[in-house]
Amino acid sequence: MSAGRVASVLVLALVVAGADWLAVADPLRACAPCLAWVVAGPFVLALLALAILRPAAPPPAAAPAPPPPDTPALDLLAALQDEGRLVDFLTEDIGTYSDAQVGAAVRGIQASCRKALEACVKLEPILRGAENEPVTVEAGFDPGAVRLTGNVTGRPPFRGVLRHAGWRVTGVTVPARQGCDARVIAPAEVELP
């Protein structure tokens, strides 16, 4: 029972009771129980009516399944599977195939996954220098973005060799799928003869 309904019913009862009071307070001054009945009656009636006339329960809403909280991640996975068959590839046991067979397939998979990845995610290296060339890490560097290895002593600037330039995502444009179950990465395919 909503608080709003109770409040509006009580306001109505108050108006009726107030009117009763103005109309009959003087004549009924002698009879305190009568006065109490006339004034309190509307409240009693209102609450009773409220209890009896329950509102028709709203039809149980076809609650849409809330989208999984990780929908963008699933959309990215779906894009990589749809364009590049990535999930099929990662879940397949390729141990029994010849290198030539794997090599040929991987060329195709890599090319199409790369296309899908480039469409969804913009990437740039964290350090601009060429790999396996000397590099200087200045003071105040972000230890989350630059990992030092080897003989780490002293204070920055550090001079070393860039072994991996790192990757940073500068933009994400994963196509959102509307009207689909986000957990479906690839639908089952049934061919009708």
Partner: protein, 595 residues
């Protein structure tokens, strides 16, 4: 009415549609090099995924009941009536019975009524159908919605130019205008595609085109797209010191293009795989066609590799285990595509006609001879008077001509035909995928006086059939004479009336005329009567019909003259004009009936 701010060109292609536009109020609009942009078109690329693309594939898919969630088909501007574009093409490849493709070619095919719901052709009985005109309208409606969602003023209020094949006759042009009207673009004007490609070349040259052509040049515009090949000849003249361009001839509608080549290469590879015991199913063949297209583009490009790997991944979850791989060599592509589609033929060779089977299936009249060079040779021979020595320059357009090797082979054939007249010059074309849309917009600017215009007028002369007086012979149709109604090269807004010929038509009764067109008889004047003609010289089109409506005069005979007018939109209108009182009745193309 104020002058529209945007000039818009639409390439309503057989396989892809593109919209280009130019803002006439934009800052410093250079008439020599106008900044013409291509509109990104949001479309469904997968169920539930909308992404912008520069082209809208001209495919329409009719989902089965419950096949796709309505939410998965929503577009940014609301739920569409039909699924068109990338998703329609992809789904159509998987479910061929539910996709409408090549609707445009049905507009000029005479086998079936293009205003009736006949597509998808040969679809299962429970698939809803729609007419080729309605399908074309659906693509235009999508372009219009995409424009209206992105631009500051509605497309219907802009100046819109719609490119149609030069080979489209008066009936197909009229049907295109009807499709535009159905899409709410009633004012769209028509331009021939090869002319549009030429305008794009002019616009891209930034004024330099004047140095690349000479007075006396005849330029072959050779447009080989995914599904069709369209040819035109443009001549260069001089008047009062300025160069004058004129479109002199157009070719037939040839249903032959890059898709045929991809299929041919895929079938050759499939046959080779079959020899080693590997059979491909339909799904794998589709993958093979796609892979062959990419291999073809690399192998035929400038400095292409000697061979390319063609890979079809496994269909099941065994993507690696089920993968098929093979090599395609340049020699194989050379044999299958270059020699198969562009053989070096003599100038007097003609496309081979199909062997007539006793019972012919109605459908699109696909070209029987795959040799594009033979089609070009036939076209040039028919218009020898325009270019007696063959064209002196060539402008390529269409996706196929992006391959350097194919351009070189076509040029080689043209050179051989010219012989002593010297090598043909190749005009460096603009981006072939967009040129037609961009050129259609450039044409709009030229019409406003910003840039040179190509003259041309109607690309055909039109005739009505008059039955010759001859004794009736059973089984032999009465010989028919062709009375010229509209001459070749009639300009927009032009009007002619046949003064010498009067017909008596009965009010209230339908009157029908046989209708003919010719793209080669350029000297016939209105009123000329042609008796007997060679094959391909004059072709029968769909008949004309009208019913003279006049209140209270049913049964009376009215003397009328025939008159022809080329409308502002570029369509041909034919009228019966009463000799007394000047009442007019429009003659309609009867598309219900095959010619």
């Amino acid at each position: 009415m104020s002058v529209p701010r945007f000039v818009v060109g639409i390439d309503l292609g057989t396989t892809n549609s593109v919209l280009a536009w130019v803002d006439t109020q934009g800052p410093d609009l250079d008439p020599e090099a106008p900044a013409i942009a291509v509109l990104p078109i949001p479309q469904l690329v997968k169920a539930g995924v909308v992404e912008p693309r520069d082209a809208l594939p001209s495919f329409l898919y009719l989902p089965a009941e419950g096949e796709m969630d309505a939410k998965a088909l929503a577009l940014p501007w609301g739920a569409p009536e039909h699924v068109v574009g990338t998703l329609a093409r992809a789904r159509g490849a998987e479910v061929p019975g539910r996709v409408v493709a090549s609707a445009k070619s049905w507009l000029c095919a005479t086998g079936a009524d293009p205003s009736r719901p006949i597509l998808p052709w040969n679809a299962p009985a429970d698939v809803p159908r729609l007419s080729p005109v309605a399908a074309e309208a659906a693509y235009l409606a999508h372009l219009r919605a995409a424009w209206d969602a992105a631009m500051p003023a509605p497309l219907a209020a802009q100046e819109v130019y719609l490119a149609v094949p030069a080979s489209f006759d008066a009936v197909a042009r009229e049907l295109t205008v009807r499709a535009a009207e159905a899409a709410g673009l009633g004012g769209a004007r028509l331009i021939e595609e090869p002319q549009a490609a030429f305008y794009a070349w002019i616009a891209a040259s930034g004024g330099a085109w004047r140095r690349e052509v000479r007075v006396g040049d005849v330029i072959l515009v050779c447009d080989v797209g995914g599904g069709t090949t369209d040819l035109s000849l443009v001549s260069v003249g001089e008047e009062a010191g300025a160069l004058v361009l004129e479109r002199r001839a157009v070719g037939d509608h040839i249903l032959l293009g890059g898709d045929n080549m991809d299929l041919a290469l895929a079938h050759a590879v499939r046959a080779r795989l079959a020899e080693t015991g590997t059979a491909l199913d339909e799904w794998q063949l589709r993958g093979l066609v796609h892979a062959c297209r990419q291999a073809k583009e690399r192998l035929l490009g400038a400095d292409g590799p000697e061979q390319e790997t063609v890979l079809v991944l496994g269909r099941s979850r065994k993507v690696v285990g089920g993968a098929l791989r093979t090599e395609v060599t340049r020699a194989e592509v050379e044999r299958t595509l270059v020699d198969g589609f562009f053989p070096l033929v003599a100038a007097d060779e003609r496309p081979r006609s199909p062997r007539r089977a006793g019972l012919q299936e109605i459908g699109l009249p696909y070209a029987a001879d795959p040799a594009i060079t033979r089609h070009v040779a036939g076209f040039l021979a028919r218009h020898r008077e325009v270019a007696p020595e063959g064209p002196s320059a060539v402008l390529f357009n269409g996706g196929v001509t992006e391959a350097a090797r194919l351009r070189a082979r076509l040029t080689e054939a043209l050179d051989a035909w010219r012989g002593a007249a010297g090598a043909v010059r190749v005009l460096a074309g603009a981006d072939p995928a967009r040129a037609v849309a961009v050129g259609a917009a450039a044409y709009g600017l030229a019409r406003r006086g910003r840039g040179v215009r190509i003259r041309g007028g109607t690309a055909r002369a039109y005739y009505v059939g008059v039955e010759a007086a001859a004794p009736a012979v059973p089984g032999v149709p009465a010989p028919v004479k062709a009375l010229c109604l509209a001459p070749f090269g009639m300009e927009e807004g032009g009007e002619v009336e046949l003064a010498g010929t009067e017909l008596g038509l009965v009010v209230g009764e339908p009157a029908e005329f046989r209708f003919f067109g010719s793209s080669v008889r350029r000297d016939d004047l209105p009123g000329t009567v042609v008796e007997g003609w060679g094959a391909g010289e004059i072709e029968e089109l769909r008949p004309l019909e009208t019913t003279l409506a006049a209140e209270g005069e049913e049964g009376r005979t009215v003397r009328v003259r025939l008159s022809a007018r080329v409308t502002e939109l570029g369509t041909l209108e034919l009228w019966c004009v009463a000799r007394d009182g000047g009442r007019r009745w429009r003659l309609e193309f009867n598309v219900r009936q095959a010619a």
